[in-house]
Amino acid sequence: MNVSRRQMLILLPAAAVAWKSVLAGTPEDSPNYRMSDHWWGMLIDIPKCIGCGNCVRACATENDVPDGHFRTWVERYNVSDEDMTNPHVISPDGGKEGFPGAEEDGEKYFFVPKMCNHCADSPCTQVCPVGATFIAPDGVVLVDQKYCLGCAYCVQACPYGCRYIHPQKEVADKCTLCYHRITKGLTTACCEACPTGARQLVDLKNPNDPIHEFLKTHSVQVLKPQMATGAKAFYNGLDGSVR
């Protein structure tokens, strides 16, 4: 690294100040987070996903996700022309270490990252008997792990399979959209780690958000639209065979 000593003397303190303000929740570009200013979602761009599994690993690191459980995972689809309704799907350890190579056999393959859809009309928050899981005013579905009974009703109610019971804490757990990051102006761990930009955080209340523009100009879908969950994970280029 060719940074001169003089440059370091200026850069280090500057970086330290910037970093401290990030930790304090007041980063330069989003001071004083107000929940009502935001309505969070995610864009997942299928044609860009290469199945490297960076997102799964990054999420597990950032959020101490227990082994064998997944706040996000990647599926690999193999669809034959004869029967689109019967894809062959794999997700070895959630795609954490990537996928085995696929042979060129003329069939259609693609990767589908999955996560909590932070549904606006979420069936999981509807069924919680005590109010331990809820949608925050900024659109993120969260679990209050100090209040959760661990009854697993929400796990049963999620159509997407994104919830699990934490084996040590014995409460419900799932993707929090890295709430502890996005409220400080950072992006989610999975988006940060994705090398191709297949995952992008989007603030649906921010007209200047470039992803907002993407959503307006591309055909996007949600998973299981017939469930009317108000899902906010939008997929670009989603194949009809995806479950």
Binding site: V130, A132, L149, Q156, K169
Partner: protein, 392 residues
């Protein structure tokens, strides 16, 4: 991934609702069914089943006392249970458990038992000694008035309580059916028929349970079984079972006919993973055989001995069948993937908190409570009984 065939979403591989969640609706079903049998006499004036009235109430209470245990044992944080009472979420069917349970326990069952037994309780509080005397004294709630007029008032109030108790019993068990039936994410569960099927199968199981207990206890007491009573119970059991069977067949036929996106996966599961528990145990042995046997008793004149044997066999098969139905709903609903591309396996533990041994214990515990209740509040007064030995 052991035990997984095809593809399951990674978080779906473990089953979170174990055999304890199979037991809970079974137990509350027995409660509701036993209560309905009691209400047959009290509200609908089916005088023939009077010999089982008090026993049915005590049976309902025994099972109701055990009912919260499987739930509490299943929770990750059982000591947070009071949250269901203090901050129940009004969109959650499960949230009503605390209130429905407390209502049914105190305002229906305990109230009705107290009203019916009050005269006996007061007399026993005067005639018994020691600790037992204290227990009875407490149960009198400070009133030893058993005048004619007060007992008439008890009778009237008890009638109203039973009347309210019928929809309360339906709510106590029906809400569990709604817990499953309202989950749009799970096509094995999601159905408006679910609460209704739960209630009717509960009635059959509760009636069968009380009938068997009556026959067993009467034999143990070396008394004669009142055949008019048992014949009447079996008749109601038969007709309610026909309704239950029709409802389940309707669900099945509807699924096969509509054949929606879930059908192929569920059909495969029913024929493979649930082959024994559903097709053999629940449908063939547990429903068709008892229906045919009970049908015979309704149309052919059979001897008392044969009828008794049929009732005992049918009753036992029905109890097994309804337990199998709860298993097929709860466990079956978690064995297939919501991607409709795979299946997992339920690995039931043996000695853990949610294992087989605990389940067996929880099934036997109500019988222990019933034994204690029968001793404390005898359902039969010896003076009005025949002394003949029960014929086999």
């Amino acid at each position: 991934m052991s035990g997984v065939e095809g593809y399951m979403y990674p978080n779906e591989i473990t089953l979170y609702w174990s055999v304890l969640i199979v037991l809970y609706p079974y137990i509350t079903g027995l409660v509701a069914g036993a209560f309905i049998l009691a209400s047959l006499e009290r509200v609908f004036r089916v005088e023939a089943v009077k010999p089982t009235y008090r026993l049915a109430l005590l049976t309902a209470l025994s099972f109701l006392l055990v009912a919260p245990l499987p739930l509490v044992l299943h929770l990750g944080h059982p000591f947070r249970s009071p949250e269901m009472y203090f901050t129940p979420h009004d969109t959650s069917a499960m949230a009503m458990f605390g209130y429905v349970y407390m209502w049914y326990l105190m305002a229906v069952l305990v109230f009705e038992i107290w009203l019916d037994y009050r005269r006996d309780i007061v007399l026993l509080s005067q005639s018994s000694k020691g600790l037992l005397r204290l227990i009875y004294k407490v149960m009198t709630l400070g009133s030893s008035n058993i005048s004619e007029r007060s007992l008439v008032i008890d009778e009237k109030v008890g009638w109203i309580v039973t009347l309210i108790g019928i929809p309360s019993a339906f709510l106590l068990h029906g809400y569990v059916g709604f817990i499953f039936g309202s989950i749009k994410a799970n096509p094995w569960w999601s159905s408006p028929l679910m609460p209704v099927v739960f209630i009717f199968s509960a009635m059959v199981s509760g009636i069968a349970g009380v009938m068997l207990l009556y026959m067993a206890l009467t034999k143990l007491r070396k008394q004669k079984i009142d055949m008019r009573c048992v014949d009447t119970i079996a008749m109601y059991m038969f007709y309610i079972f026909i309704i239950d069977f029709s409802l389940e067949m309707l669900d099945l036929i509807h699924r096969i006919y509509e054949a929606d996106e879930s059908f192929r996966s569920l059909n495969f599961m029913a024929h493979t993973k649930l082959l024994f528990s559903q097709i053999v145990l629940q449908i063939i042995l547990g429903t068709l055989v008892p229906l045919i046997l009970l049908f015979l008793t309704q149309v052919v004149k059979l001897t008392e001995v044969v009828r008794k044997r049929i009732y005992v066999l049918s009753g036992c098969l029905i109890l097994i069948s309804v337990l199998a139905m709860r298993w097929n709903v709860v466990i079956g609903g978690q064995l297939f993937s919501k991607s409709f591309l795979g299946y997992t396996t339920y690995k039931m533990a043996l000695v853990t908190r949610e294992g087989l041994l605990v389940s067996i214990g929880l099934t036997l515990l109500p019988l222990l409570f019933l034994w204690a209740l029968v001793k404390l509040l005898p359902p039969w007064s010896e003076a009005s009984e025949h002394q003949a030995v029960a014929a086999d």
